[in-house]
């Protein structure tokens, strides 16, 4: 072989039997070969083989398997972001003429995707409040309703939906259920009988704010067309991102627990605080629908939403005063983050919608990180004092 060819067809490194890397390699290869054309079309190749990284990649496949196991679902398909996961499920299940039910209180990009983009494809959307049960029941009962999408805890106002009831109503009406479970992590709500669970892996799964990813999880039946759609849409994660998420998952449980504990501590502190007009945290007895949270929920999440009785300018001042909370979207990472709710998540809402969803000038969202909670409380206290 000429040296020119050799640098392209470098000799494979063969590991001897029983000698394996502890950490799986990152499979950067875009293409995978088969020993023969016949082999490439065999049943085993179709089921277990790898061909092209947009369809399936070994590093990403490892991530899909561990997420499916965590959420106790048969199949997981990874996507390049949480939004790509939602988009994939919507496109795979909807056709022109269908109706989608979603909540006013949901994550702004999800709301925008459904309101602005789906209508262009001839899909009707019904936006209702998560607390308006009669409206939910009415919309679900409509003949053209095909799918309902909801969040385990809504972002950013942390409303608790009536999970069991929504699923029951949807099932009764043969409506496909899509649960965005990002806020309660990859180990909660395993027993909910929803057709799809999606996650933004960018959040708790990665946990270090350095990779984006999403995941669709479901049964063999419900996931049938999902990989095809994901492949066609091309929103597949890069193997490097899959690796970083797999690496992050190793400390997932410890991070999630610590972040929940710290968030609960801060929420309790806010409850008795004279500068805080209102605090929303799913673990507090005072939270609306607190009793409706499934009893086996492990940890109430790392998000706290609260309200300072002030105008927007004053709120921004409070946010700027904080030293340990960075002003940024995202959540579930080692660093604590703060977001002014109206500015970040309320731009597409009119006055009535803002009132219904409870968003005020002084509404603010914390994503609690891994810092010492005492340091976070001291930081919050000094930032509040500067407002006086």
């Amino acid at each position: 072989m000429s040296k020119l060819t050799e640098v392209i067809h470098t000799k494979k490194v063969k590991l001897i039997e029983g000698n394996n890397p502890l950490i799986e390699p990152i499979y950067r290869s875009v293409k995978y070969t088969f020993s023969s054309v016949k082999h490439s079309i065999s049943d085993s190749a179709k089921e277990f083989g790898f061909e092209y990284s947009r369809d399936k990649n070994p590093t990403t496949y490892q991530l899909e398997q561990v997420c499916a196991s965590l959420q106790e679902r048969e199949i997981g398909v990874a996507t390049s972001s949480g939004m790509a996961a939602i988009w994939c499920v919507l496109l795979a299940n909807l056709s022109a003429g269908d109706r989608v039910v979603f909540f006013l209180e949901s994550y702004a990009p999800t709301r925008k995707l459904i309101r602005d983009k789906l209508s262009k494809l001839g899909i009707t959307c019904s936006m209702v409040s998560v607390y308006d049960e009669s409206a939910i029941a009415d919309e679900l009962a409509k003949d053209d309703t095909k799918l309902i999408i909801y969040e385990s805890i809504t972002n950013p106002m942390l409303c608790i939906p009536n999970h069991a009831w929504i699923v029951q109503q949807a099932n009764k009406n043969n409506v496909i259920t899509l649960l965005d479970n990002t806020f309660l992590g990859l180990h909660n709500h395993c027993d909910l009988k929803v057709d799809y669970i999606i996650h933004s892996l960018t959040k708790f799964a990665n946990g270090h704010g350095d990779a984006m990813g999403g995941m669709v999880l479901g049964s063999k039946q419900s996931m049938k067309s999902i990989r095809d759609y994901a492949t066609s849409l091309g929103a597949t994660p890069d193997p490097e991102a899959s690796y970083l998420i797999l690496r992050g998952l190793k400390t997932y449980f410890m991070r999630y627990q610590k972040q929940c504990d710290s968030a609960f501590k801060i929420a309790r502190y806010f409850e008795g605080h004279s500068n805080i007009a209102k605090v929303f945290y799913p673990g507090l007895n005072s939270a609306k629908n607190y009793k409706l949270l499934p009893k086996n929920v492990d940890g109430y999440g790392a998000m706290i939403t609260f309200e300072i009785d002030c105008n927007e300018e004053k709120l921004w001042q409070f946010i700027d005063n904080l030293k340990l909370f960075s002003t940024a979207a995202s959540l579930g990472s080692v660093d604590s983050l703060v977001a002014p709710i109206k500015l970040f998540f309320g731009k597409d809402l009119n006055q009535d919608e803002l009132v219904t969803s409870g968003i005020k000038h002084g509404s603010v969202r914390f994503a609690v990180g891994l810092e010492d909670p005492e340091d976070l409380l001291e930081d919050i206290e000094q930032a509040l004092r500067l407002l006086d």
């Binding site: 502890l22 950490i23 270090h208 704010g209 350095d210 690496r247 190793k250 400390t251 410890m254 991070r255 610590k258 340990l324 960075s326 940024a328 080692v334 660093d335 990180g369 891994l370 810092e371 010492d372 005492e374 340091d375 976070l376």
Partner: protein, 385 residues
């Protein structure tokens, strides 16, 4: 700021151009200068000398250890090499813990002795013994504590005092403790050495080392050696290590708790002859370490009943505990020091150190403790029953 806050924030600022919260990976060899006259006024010229990503990790490590400068290296051994090189010259003498990582022993015996440096390998848990070995030309004492793999504990404060009285440097390899559990500089040491491959990374993803100095003059000496010897940490490894450090205390809390349960379990197990874990009251360095550290670490050793054969059988047959030469990571790892990490040390000396043929070293990870207990219990049962 408390430790867990510092491990997330210390040394790191959002990147000024884009606001990127995470430190970017500056994967560049060269840094463009504005003009000849303004050479180096942004602080960087060539990545062998310094690199912004690596520098952020160095700042963080320095703050966590309470030092005045840190230098990162390609591996822990490169850090040890650089510290030796910056402080020792021909004709000098150094005292090194008798129980010490095999690589440290090897670099002293096979490289530095060739250039006319002499070493005494001394039981550093015995202060009067150290005193006896101090000579006019003794330049440094290198203490590894708790030592690898016997976990022998040395008195960092007392040795530091002895060093300053005799005007010699005290170097501490604190890899087994990390600054979360112990801060040698606070106890009087001059330089702390780490293999960042271990607890700092914690995910078995990189190799790296660091030397953190008490004062800036020493730090400059170490940096000079790194620049000339070239054993630098890559920006990518620095980035991964930086991310790993952010969960350090979380991982260690769990690892220490798991190790404590396992040590208790093994101490009372009928097929186990001896167990060494500094957290056990029966362990000889227990009280000393308790007074100088916040916790007892995640390393333990034991001897199974029988000898070499049973030891090997145990190491080969566990399922969750993996046979691999590393420590401090999230996975529980087993090593057989006599055959693996300490094979370079002559058998007689090795036995004198307490590293017997049947000694098994366990680096306890963050798995569910019940899974670890099941794994070890089942393996022992299968060997003996």
């Amino acid at each position: 700021m408390r430790f867990s806050t510092k491990q997330v924030h210390a040394g790191q600022e959002p990147e000024p151009i884009t606001g990127s919260l995470n430190t970017p990976i500056f994967q560049t060899t060269s840094f463009v200068q504005d003009s000849v006259d303004q050479y180096m006024n942004k602080g960087f010229s060539y990545s062998r000398s310094s690199n912004p990503t690596v520098e952020v990790l160095e700042k963080k490590l320095s703050i966590l250890e309470g030092g005045n400068g840190a230098t990162c290296f390609a591996t822990g051994m490169a850090a040890t090499q650089a510290v030796f090189n910056s402080l020792l010259k021909q004709g000098d003498h150094a005292i090194v813990s008798q129980v010490v990582y095999g690589g440290t022993y090897r670099i002293a015996k096979e490289i530095f002795e060739k250039f006319g440096v002499t070493f005494s390998f001394v039981d550093t848990s015995n202060i009067s013994l150290i005193e006896k070995h101090i000579q006019d030309n003794t330049r440094l004492i290198f203490t590894e504590s708790p030592a690898n793999p016997t976990l022998k504990v040395s008195d960092i404060a007392l040795i530091s005092e002895l060093c300053s009285k005799n005007d010699i440097y005290h170097i501490v390899d604190s890899t087994f403790m990390t600054p979360y559990l112990m801060q040698p500089i606070d106890l009087g040491a001059d330089i702390v050495i780490h293999s960042t491959t271990k607890f700092f990374d914690g995910h078995n993803a990189t190799t790296g080392g660091a030397a953190i100095c008490k004062d800036n003059t020493l730090d400059q000496k170490v940096k000079f050696i790194r620049n000339t010897s070239g054993s630098i940490m890559s920006p990518f490894n620095a980035y991964l290590t930086l991310q790993g450090v952010k969960t350090l205390s979380l991982r260690l809390d769990r690892q220490c708790a798991n190790a404590e349960v396992l040590a208790d379990y093994l101490e009372n197990h009928k097929y186990i002859e001896r167990v060494g874990y500094p957290g056990l009251k029966s362990f000889s360095g227990h009280n000393l370490l308790k007074s100088q550290a916040r916790g007892f670490g995640s390393m333990l050793w034991f001897e199974v009943r029988g000898g070499l054969e049973e030891g090997k059988q145990f190491a080969d047959n566990t399922e969750i505990c993996t046979l691999a030469e590393n420590l401090g990571s999230v996975e529980t790892l087993i090593t057989h020091p006599a055959v693996m990490t300490h094979a370079y040390i002559p058998r007689e000396l090795r036995l004198e150190m307490g590293v017997t043929d049947s000694l098994i070293r366990l680096s306890v990870g963050i798995e569910d403790i019940d899974d670890l207990l099941d794994d070890i219990g089942t393996t022992l049962k299968n060997i003996y029953e």
